[in-house]
């Protein structure tokens, strides 16, 4: 395991909600693939069954935050300002993957786009576009 991979795993392990979802991450150079292994508690529609749309949004948002952490290496976790999630297909009860592309990082704001897929990357199931606060200018009450 590379140093970067160890740092990433440590960062993931520190986030309780990442453990709640079961999110993992794989690194290839500076490119990260978020992995959401299938688990019954992620289901939002039991009839089809389908993954909860909110879970897919949350997973892509987390992928964006982690990818920003790799690119920026900042001490403070980037915070979402706004996100738009678009759903193309229902998430089937199987493993889901996501990759984030940082389109621009300014002094304060980063623009990130995330794609989520299951069996084939050519058939994405959802997209997320969002802005994230990357600076520590705004203090967060502890």
């Amino acid at each position: 395991m590379s140093d970067a991979q160890i740092t990433l795993q440590a960062a993931l392990h520190r986030i309780p909600y990442a453990r709640f979802l079961g999110v993992r991450a794989e690194l290839a150079g500076d490119e990260m693939t978020g992995v959401l292994p299938y688990s019954d508690h992620l289901i939002g529609n039991y009839l089809l069954p389908a993954l909860h749309g909110g879970v897919l949004g949350a997973f892509m948002e987390m992928t964006a935050v982690l990818q920003l952490g790799i690119a920026q290496g900042g001490a403070r976790q980037p915070r979402p300002i706004d996100v738009t999630v678009e759903y193309l297909r229902s998430g089937r009860p199987t493993d889901t993957f996501a990759r984030a592309e940082i389109k621009r990082v300014g002094r304060r704001v980063a623009n990130v786009q995330v794609e989520a897929w299951q069996d084939a990357r050519a058939n994405p199931i959802a997209f997320l576009r969002g802005h994230f606060l990357v600076s520590a200018v705004e203090s967060v009450p502890a």
Partner: protein
């Protein structure tokens, strides 16, 4: 109270998050998630993960559509836009309120707000569009069949 029982039965993710339905009538809904340490997104501040707010808002918007429908049908989120105004305060129950302000034949439009007690001091705001009759032609378990075949839906 039957709504709570129903959610508990049909929605594993809702149960896992501890979501309860407080209001669901006339195109309006209010759902809540009590604060829990395993839902924290930033261990330095104890703030609940943005993803929890996302899931609560999605669920609350969907419930508002159900509350607006005159006959039962399946629905699916087409898109969901969320503005995060401020971090939720650690320790407080997260509440989301949604209004389905337009119910069409094929799509429904919803607005929602998330807060931690004071609706005038929102944590996040959302706007969502849902497809109605989203499982048209697909019966129960159809995603299982495609999962087994490993083909696309």
């Amino acid at each position: 109270m039957s709504d709570v029982v129903e959610l508990d039965r049909i929605l594993p993710q809702g149960r896992a998050l501890g979501i309860t339905i407080q209001v669901s009538a006339d195109g309006r809904s209010r759902l809540a998630i009590p604060y829990r340490e395993d839902l924290i997104g930033d261990p330095d501040t104890g703030v609940i993960a943005g993803g929890v707010v996302t899931t609560l808002l999605d669920q609350t918007c969907g419930q508002a559509v159900y509350a607006a429908l005159t006959e039962e049908t399946s629905i699916a989120t087409l898109d969901l836009r969320i503005d995060y105004m401020r971090p939720a305060k650690p320790g407080l129950t997260l509440i989301a309120e949604a209004h389905c302000y337009k119910l069409g034949r094929q799509v429904a439009f919803v607005r929602a707000t998330a807060h931690d007690g004071d609706v005038n001091d929102p944590v996040a705001a959302a706007q969502a569009v849902f497809m109605l009759d989203s499982s048209a032609g697909r019966g129960p378990g159809s995603n299982l069949a495609t999962a087994r075949r490993g083909s696309r839906s």
